[in-house]
Symmetry: C2
Subunit: 112 residues, 2 copies
């Protein structure tokens, strides 16, 4: 494939990282995501996607330091890059454009 663009799940994960801002790492991302999309997803699913998004340059990450919590491995925090923001913006523009072009009666049937 030549594409290497944003997949459907990749997009919501990227958005979720953006929403969490400074507090985005595996666990919080998974929780917020589940809450927003209304279904459960495995940690590994999210991690895999985060890794791919980083490879594509849409995310960057850094390891966090020790905290006051009980214990546990260090967190890897994620941040959306400028490229990532651009990609999000672009797909939104395309969809908004399509939604605007929908026939009125179709919109009505969806009650939105």
């Amino acid at each position: 494939m030549k594409r290497a663009f944003l997949g459907e799940f990749e997009e919501v994960v990227l958005l979720t990282v953006a929403v969490l801002d400074e507090e985005a790492y595996g666990v919080t991302i998974t929780q917020e995501l589940e809450q927003k999309i209304g279904r459960a997803v495995g940690f590994s699913t999210v991690h895999t996607t985060l890794q791919r998004l980083e490879e594509k340059g849409y995310l960057s990450s850094r390891m966090g330091g020790a905290t006051a919590e009980r214990g546990g491995r260090r967190k890897r925090f994620f941040m959306v890059t400028a490229t990532g923001r651009k990609a999000l913006h672009e797909v939104k523009l395309v969809r908004d454009e399509l939604w605007r072009a929908l026939p009125p009666q179709t919109l009505q049937l969806m009650g939105s």
Copy 2:
């Protein structure tokens, strides 16, 4: 996978069918799609996706009759089903919600 939801490309194809309303078949869908998303896609790509969307119940189709045109095979027209409309609506709600939750400074960086 248990999911079988709307993929990213499937979503724009479904939206395009909705936009074209009565005139949605392979060729017109491909053209409209290319125009909206700003890149070329093969007919076969679109056809494959249409078929999957129909299998999932998001689209229904019927064969068109003869026309006054030069010649050529009959067209298969597509229509979005109620289920399809619902799916479109739902993914939109999720994304809109996420966009609303973005921190202001992130939005600002995107200039939207």
